[in-house]
């Protein structure tokens, strides 16, 4: 156990939560650990964090990290609505939503899309295992065509790729990663948190009980064999100096809203994370090659987030009182006379 303090003076333990009740080896538990690491290293104030979720295995996980923070385990598919409302009530909160593939692209697809369309300031992690775990192994809508269920049936329906949906809507931060790749996932989580606007992170997270067998495209072995990383991602927080040296021309640097930086070192092919249409083509081409692209797919740091667009004050709306919210006596009397 490390007793090292982060830049706000907290130990890593301050970012832990209750013991997990998920299966041993579940990808979601790894994501929880990566979240703990990322939030600790970022020095997120626990009291300003709001952990939001819907229903499903993934949606239980907010109980397993940052115990000091408020959390809300809502109803199935409605985490985006809860997050939108809570964020409007208090703009100072750091909204972190954890959802699953069923929660996001089946029952909650409408809300997911509208959250991105509004560019609500939040981090949205999809713990994507292609299956319904809590209800014992039905296919979810992210299951690929031809993937085989544990009981043998084969999926024949087109998958819905949350990243493709996000790109279509111009979501301002779209990334994909793998629960087993902390090296890539931790900096992406940090960048998502630092980003102002909706940051969607589709994290493939194998379900060891129902979807980790041969024939599944969400199993540990399949992902390891087909993961095509588009960049090497380094996150440099606003409170640290940039001290990484890369060969000129091999990296792209992105400045995030809070002054932090992302340094993206190109790996497989020429990818511009600010080119939305190019990224969409890349994703589709990779799919045809039977490969899964991971990394920061798209970012738009110029997009205005919802609360800013709605002209909300930075002071939390929930803190305003009678004097500031009621119409003044004079204006009220004037208005009454207008109704005569």
């Amino acid at each position: 156990m490390s007793a090292t303090l982060n830049h706000i003076g907290l130990t890593r333990d301050a970012y832990k939560g209750a013991a997990t009740t998920l299966c041993a080896g579940c990808g979601h538990n790894s994501i929880t650990n990566h979240l703990v690491k990322a939030l600790y290293e970022l020095g997120v104030e626990p009291h300003l964090l709001a952990k939001m979720s819907g229903i499903g295995c993934s949606s239980k996980t907010p109980a397993y990290f940052v115990d000091q923070a408020h959390g809300f385990n809502g109803v199935h598919g409605r985490m985006p609505a809860l997050t939108t409302g809570a964020g409007l009530a208090n703009r100072k909160l750091l909204m972190l939503g954890v959802s699953g593939d069923g929660d996001t692209v089946s029952i909650g697809l409408g809300g997911f899309m509208h959250l991105m369309r509004r560019n609500v300031d939040c981090t949205y992690i999809i713990e994507d295992n292609g299956t319904y775990g809590l209800t014992k192994g039905q296919f979810s809508a992210t299951a690929d065509v031809g993937s085989v269920q544990k009981r043998g049936s084969v999926n024949t329906y087109q998958p819905i790729d949350p990243c493709a949906v996000a790109l279509t809507l111009g979501c301002s931060f779209v990334a994909r990663s793998f629960s087993g790749d902390g090296k890539q996932l931790v900096p992406l989580i940090k960048a998502a948190v630092a980003h102002r606007g909706t940051a969607v992170l589709d994290v493939v997270s194998p379900c060891v009980t129902f979807n980790d067998h041969d024939g599944s495209t969400k199993s540990y072995s399949w992902v390891k064999d087909h993961d095509e990383q588009i960049q090497d991602v380094t996150f440099i927080p606003f409170f640290e100096e940039i001290s990484v040296d890369y060969e000129p021309g091999t990296t792209k640097e992105v400045e995030l809203h809070d002054g932090s930086h992302l340094v993206l070192k190109k790996l497989s092919e020429d990818h511009d994370p600010t080119d939305r249409i190019g990224t969409m083509r890349m994703i589709e081409e990779a799919r045809e090659r039977n490969q899964m692209l991971t990394g920061l797919l798209y970012i738009d740091e110029s997009a205005q987030d919802f609360a800013t667009r709605e002209s909300l004050p930075t002071r939390p709306l929930r803190d305003y009182g009678e004097v500031e919210l009621r119409i003044s006596r004079e204006d009220f009397a004037t208005h009454m006379s207008e109704l005569a």
Partner: protein, 605 residues
């Protein structure tokens, strides 16, 4: 000597085509007459349609100021060829019919007076503006009606200025068009008299204002400190949040910074609308949503979550007939039972039942206080009649009370408690527990919110005893709320063996029905229910009467059923049910007729 005309007592009806702009003309007439000190009670009967289907505007004028719908028209303006024959049939004998001259009256009834006006020709020859001709054609009949009913033209001008308050440019063209109609009357019908006339009066409407229930509710939301509103468009609720937007733009924007002290979100559906409001309520804002029956259906799941997770939120239901493909633009009180226990599992909600526009305003504020105080969903059941029609009301009072934000622990409270607290510990034994808001800067502030699977310290558990304890506490909380809800309004001065119970807009028909019954030598007492759970005082009222008629605007007697369930067994048998459910607001006659029949049956026994 021939009797003079009846003064200030008539039903006016304009039969027009939806989307033709007749609403403005009708409002001008209403406001003109109101400005003469004459009580008005307008009801807009409109179809679920943008343009083309028939629509009717019924304006009741009565010296006593009754606001319930009354029967057939004494004066008809017929401008819809599609309904002309039927509209004509509905006019009371002796009535007056202003109609487009092109409509045939050959062989039509001869017990009404006809006033044929060549509206189309007049519009073509006298209204120069091509773009506005269609709308202004309606102002022609305003002028004709002014002539027919002796409305001074300056009252019409006042009505125009008031109706187009924010569009002064529209004043002159409308005045001109009304003037054309008025002159046409003078030139063609000046010597004709009918059995009705209007005269300026005083004493009934002095100091009153006109406002729709949805606007009153929106104003109440502003004064009640609403800072997050999420809604999905649905008739007859949309105008509530649209009025809220108008108020917000006027009164909640900081002139210097442009910052807005309210977020109003048009959501993607009603699931999200309530979800956003619940999220905001959880995070500490005064949050609301507004909808109608179909939206309430979609809000069932979140309502249950709000109940169990104990999140303050206000939900307006402007009731209409169901389902979506029913009569969505007609009024109803049929969501009562549905809303009271909305959601799966054991749920019961706090429900406010405004009966007047004043209560729409006051209960909006009350709703936010109750939601915060009892940390739960509070429903406000209005209806289309109340929400979308203009009503006379005394001007609203400026609120003197501070917001009641309920049991919220701040940083300093947690310091004092040394961090020892539990989200669901019933410290005060009233079932209402303490909560913290996200963002509270104390290591002990955070807790994890979920439905019912938690212990007193908000820790996850599926233990049977913990669940049952929580359920019992929620009942305790509900009982604490019962006493805090607005009390029934009781008028038991008649000393009659007969009592009436009603709620919501049915009130206005009851007021009139009681006068009618009194005139027949049958005074009756009255209790108006203003909230659920039902007040304990209702039992005393029922005990004081031999027979109590429960009057409501739904088919199955939902309030009657609730009363029978909750009243002591020996009292339940005293209840009788009177129901009105044709989609039109209940008239007094729908109370007096069945009541007299049932009373006659009692007398025979």
């Amino acid at each position: 000597m021939t009797p003079g005309p009846t003064i200030n007592d008539l039903m006016f009806q304009a039969a027009t085509v939806n989307g033709s702009g007749s609403q403005s003309a009708n409002l001008v007439l209403t406001r003109a007459i109101f400005s003469m000190g004459i009580p008005v009670a307008p009801k807009n009967v409109f179809p679920s349609n943008i343009e083309g289907l028939p629509t009717w505007y019924q304006l009741r004028i009565s010296p006593k100021g009754y606001q319930a719908r009354a029967g057939e028209p004494d004066v008809l303006v017929a401008l819809n060829p599609a309904t002309w024959t039927k509209d004509l049939k509905g006019v009371k004998p002796g009535g007056a019919v202003i109609h487009e001259a092109a409509y045939s009256t050959a062989g039509a009834r001869d017990d009404v007076s006809y006033f044929p006006v060549p509206f189309a020709k007049l519009a073509k020859s006298r209204i120069a503006n091509d773009n506005l001709r269609k709308q202004l054609t309606n102002m022609l009949y305003v002028g004709v009606v002014a002539g027919l009913l002796d409305i001074p033209f300056d009252a019409i001008e006042h009505g125009i200025r008031r109706t187009f308050q924010t569009k002064p440019k529209a004043w002159q063209v409308n005045v001109d068009a009304a003037c054309v109609g008025y002159e046409h009357w003078q030139e063609n019908f000046a010597d004709r008299r009918i059995g009705h006339a209007l005269q300026p009066m005083s004493g009934v409407t002095d100091g009153l204002v006109l406002i729709e229930g949805n606007q009153a509710a929106a104003l109440g939301c502003v004064m009640g400190g609403c800072t997050v509103a999420a809604w999905y468009p649905i008739t007859p609720s949309s105008s509530l949040c649209e009025n809220l937007i108008t108020y917000a733009d006027r009164f909640r924007v900081d002139q210097a910074s442009g910052e807005k002290k309210i977020a109003i979100v048009q959501a993607e559906d009603e699931l999200a609308a309530l979800g956003m409001a619940v999220g905001a309520g959880w995070a500490g804002a005064r949050a609301m949503t507004s909808t109608s029956g179909p939206g309430i259906s979609l809000m069932a799941e979140f309502s249950g979550l709000a109940y169990y997770a104990e999140v303050p939120v206000v939900i307006y239901d402007i009731q209409r007939i169901g389902p979506s493909t029913g009569l969505p633009t007609r009024t109803s009180q049929a969501d009562l039972g549905f809303v009271y226990t909305l959601s799966h599992g054991d749920t019961k909600h706090l429900v406010l039942l405004p009966g007047t526009v004043e209560e729409c305003y006051e209960f909006a504020q009350e709703a936010f206080d109750l939601a915060d105080r009892f940390q739960t969903a509070v429903f406000v059941l209005s209806d289309l009649d109340l929400g979308m029609n203009l009503w006379m009301t005394p001007p609203f009072e400026y609120p003197e009370r501070s917001f009641d934000r309920g049991k919220v622990l701040r940083e300093e409270d947690l310091e004092r408690l040394e961090g020892r607290w539990g989200r669901y510990r019933d410290v005060d034994q009233d079932g209402v527990t303490y909560r913290t808001l996200p963002g509270t800067h104390h290591p002990a502030a955070g807790y994890f919110t979920r439905g019912s699977g938690h212990d007193e310290d908000a820790r996850y558990t599926e233990e049977a005893e913990a669940y049952a304890r929580n359920m019992d506490r929620l009942v305790r909380k509900f009982e604490s709320a019962r006493a805090a809800m607005p009390a029934p309004v009781v008028d038991a001065t008649a000393g009659s063996p007969i009592g009436l119970i009603a709620f919501g807009t049915t009130h206005h028909a009851v007021v009139e029905a009681r006068d009618l019954l009194r005139e027949r030598g049958m005074p009756v007492d009255y209790l108006r229910v203003r909230a659920l759970p039902l007040s304990a005082s209702i039992a005393a009222f029922v005990r004081g009467h031999e027979r109590v008629y429960v009057i409501e605007q739904n088919r199955d007697g939902q309030m009657y059923d609730l009363l029978r369930l909750e009243l002591p067994v020996e009292l339940a048998g005293r209840l009788r049910s009177i129901r009105h459910y044709d989609g039109r607001p209940i008239p007094a006659e729908s109370i007096t007729r069945p009541l007299l029949e049932l009373e006659e049956a009692v007398a025979v026994l």
